[in-house]
């Protein structure tokens, strides 16, 4: 199997749409609500999850034949926790302010359902390279939604994008006010709902038959 076969490409593209971890599998909602007030933490969080998922997938997949099935969850957690600590230290070293904003949520990547889900469902039964691609794909799918929500919330909640004010002052002078609800987690939940709504109206096969 070549490195960039169509099968591998599918592993990468599927989580972006039809198997999106947030909008289709409804995993990892907690962090999606918590870190998307501003765009910058959302991007960093998305990247962190992507790195952790990809590398954990790679490591677990490489070890998959040596892990006793009874203690596999513990082994998986050890690998994920190691990765998360590494990412956390890197964030603290290079982007300290964002690390402060993300606070506990970087540590909570350990319990992110997406990562455990991919390890259990994919890495335990597949070769290292496809597992790595699968991790990147799922991380991208997660990051994509986070960035979309973070962008909308920062734009309407704080009138800025990546910290730069983009709504002109003349708007505020005529009575425009930033939407306070966008800063609350409620807005993120509603936005996730809207994204799911839009996605399903384009992909009819995602709609459940009742």
């Amino acid at each position: 199997m070549s490195i960039f076969s169509s099968k591998n490409f599918k592993l990468l593209s599927n989580p972006l749409n039809l198997q999106n971890p947030i909008t289709v599998q409804i995993l990892g909602i907690c962090s999606a609500l918590a870190v998307t007030v501003k765009l910058k933490p959302a991007i960093v969080m998305g990247l962190s999850v992507m790195v952790v998922t990809a590398i954990s997938n790679l490591v677990i997949s490489a070890m998959r034949n040596y892990i006793p099935p009874r203690i596999r969850i513990i082994v998986q957690l050890v690998v994920v926790a190691t990765m998360v600590i590494l990412v956390d230290q890197l964030l603290r070293a290079f982007v300290y302010d964002v690390s402060k904003q993300l606070s506990v949520y970087v540590g909570l990547i350990i319990t992110n359902c997406i990562i455990m889900g991919r390890l259990e469902a994919f890495a335990m039964g597949n070769k290292p390279w496809p597992s790595f691609v699968d991790g990147i794909g799922n991380g991208l799918g997660y990051a994509m939604i986070l960035i979309a929500i973070g962008f909308i919330r920062e734009l309407f909640g704080s009138g800025a994008v990546l910290g730069f004010n983009v709504i002109p002052k003349s708007f505020y002078d005529t009575g425009y006010i930033n939407n306070g609800m966008m800063i609350m987690p409620t807005a993120a939940l509603i936005l996730v709902g809207v994204i799911i709504w839009i996605q399903r109206s384009f992909n009819k096969e995602l709609i459940e038959k009742d």
């Binding site: 006010i177 939407n179 306070g180 966008m182 409620t186 509603i190 709504w197």
Partner: protein, 387 residues
């Protein structure tokens, strides 16, 4: 009339299935049934025809809202006069306020009905009357200074996310009008609470000395309970507040109309009052702060209590449907109102949140009431079988 009928009949094929504008069929149908009584009759089987349909129900509720609306218009003018020391007659006050209310009504109906028409068009349903009452309720529970674009945004949010995504009129979980208010309350708190939003023009101009514009509920929170309006003034509604909610008397007239026609449930209204009074008395026994010292019956005339109890809590879609459930639902609203008013200093008014919370609970209440009935009857059936 005749020529209008002929004109509509002539255009009808264009909008029927297969016609040129078949996609706009439901808009056409809405206009036709608005202008002329529809002559659709059932083709098969036996049907019971009731004189009360959705349109008539809505019309009666709007009639019941008229006293509150008229008083609210007058109060806008009256409060503005108090704040800036302007003397006006009753009629002038009324006209002053009514002119401030009209833009709110126009925006509310324009945006709400627009979305309703588009949603009906997309679904291929008939346009129904679901928004008629909501459209008048929303301006009545807004502060008079609310910017029109905020109102439009709130109406759009409430109609789309409160009603249309659940399936349209009759399927909403929460009261649409209150959802619009809750949206603004959390999104733009500076425009929805505080002392200056309730009186027209107060944020822009300096009032006369000693005038604060705080609502009685806010005054208690500020430790100025002694400055509060008298019970009589609060009952009549000579106090600052959202447009339609201040006068308990005007709301009571509306309540009488609703109860007399059987459209509003008297059980809910009564149990809300009972819940408030019992929780209020309980707090009076242990007065830890100024809100708890407030005599229990004062809660009935303050803030949006009366308006909410009569027009919001009784919403037939979102309230409990079982008879026993209505008592529980109303009583808990009353209890929650007092609890929110007393223990949450951030929200001086609790009616909106109490009703929204109980809206969410009402299906659960119904479920347990029905389960209870089933269990009781099952027990009876079993005893008979044994005998």
């Amino acid at each position: 009339m005749k020529s209008l009928r002929n004109y509509i009949d002539k255009k009808k094929p264009l909008f029927s299935p297969g016609g040129k504008f078949a996609k706009l069929g439901s808009t056409f149908g809405a206009i036709e049934t608005f202008l002329f009584t529809p002559n659709h009759t059932s083709q098969t089987g036996v049907h019971i025809h009731d004189a009360i349909d959705l349109k008539r129900t809505m019309t009666v509720v709007i009639l019941a809202l008229v006293p509150a609306m008229l008083f609210g218009s007058w109060n806008i003018g009256y409060q503005n006069g108090l704040a800036f020391g302007v003397e006006r007659g009753i009629i002038d006050n009324f006209i002053f306020g009514f002119l401030k209310l009209i833009p709110l009504l126009v925006v509310s109906y324009g945006v709400g009905l627009g979305i309703e028409f588009i949603a009906a068009q997309i679904r291929g349903h008939e346009v129904n009357e679901g928004y008629l009452v909501t459209g008048i309720l929303i301006p009545l529970i807004m502060p008079v200074n609310i910017p029109l674009w905020m109102l439009a945004l709130a109406v759009a949010f409430a109609v789309i996310f409160g009603k249309e995504i659940f399936g349209g009129t009759g399927y909403n979980i929460m009261n649409v009008a209150l959802l619009a208010r809750a949206f603004l309350f959390f999104a733009y708190p500076s425009q929805m609470s505080g002392d200056s939003v309730w009186i027209y023009d107060l944020p822009n101009k300096v009032p006369i000395d000693g005038f604060s514009g705080a609502t009685p509920l806010a005054q208690i929170g500020q430790g100025a309970a002694s400055k509060m309006a008298s019970f009589h003034d609060m009952f009549m509604g000579f106090i600052p507040g959202s447009i339609g909610e201040t006068s308990t008397l005007a709301v009571l007239i509306g309540a009488a109309i609703l109860i007399f026609t059987g459209i509003g449930s008297w059980k809910i209204m009564l149990s809300v009052v009972l819940g408030t009074l019992s929780m209020g008395f309980l707090c009076n026994l242990l007065p830890l702060n100024a809100y708890m010292e407030l005599p229990a019956y004062y809660h009935l005339v303050m803030g949006g209590f009366a308006f909410g109890a009569v027009f919001m809590a009784t919403d037939p879609v979102t309230a409990s449907h079982t008879e026993k459930g209505k008592w529980i639902y109303g009583f808990l609203i009353g209890v929650l109102v007092v609890l929110i008013r007393i223990f949450n200093p951030a929200y001086p008014e609790g009616m909106m949140l109490a009703i929204l919370l109980m809206n969410v609970w009402s299906p659960l209440i119904d479920y347990f009431v029905v389960e209870g009935h089933i269990k009781r009857r099952l027990k009876r059936a079993k005893v008979k079988a044994n005998a």
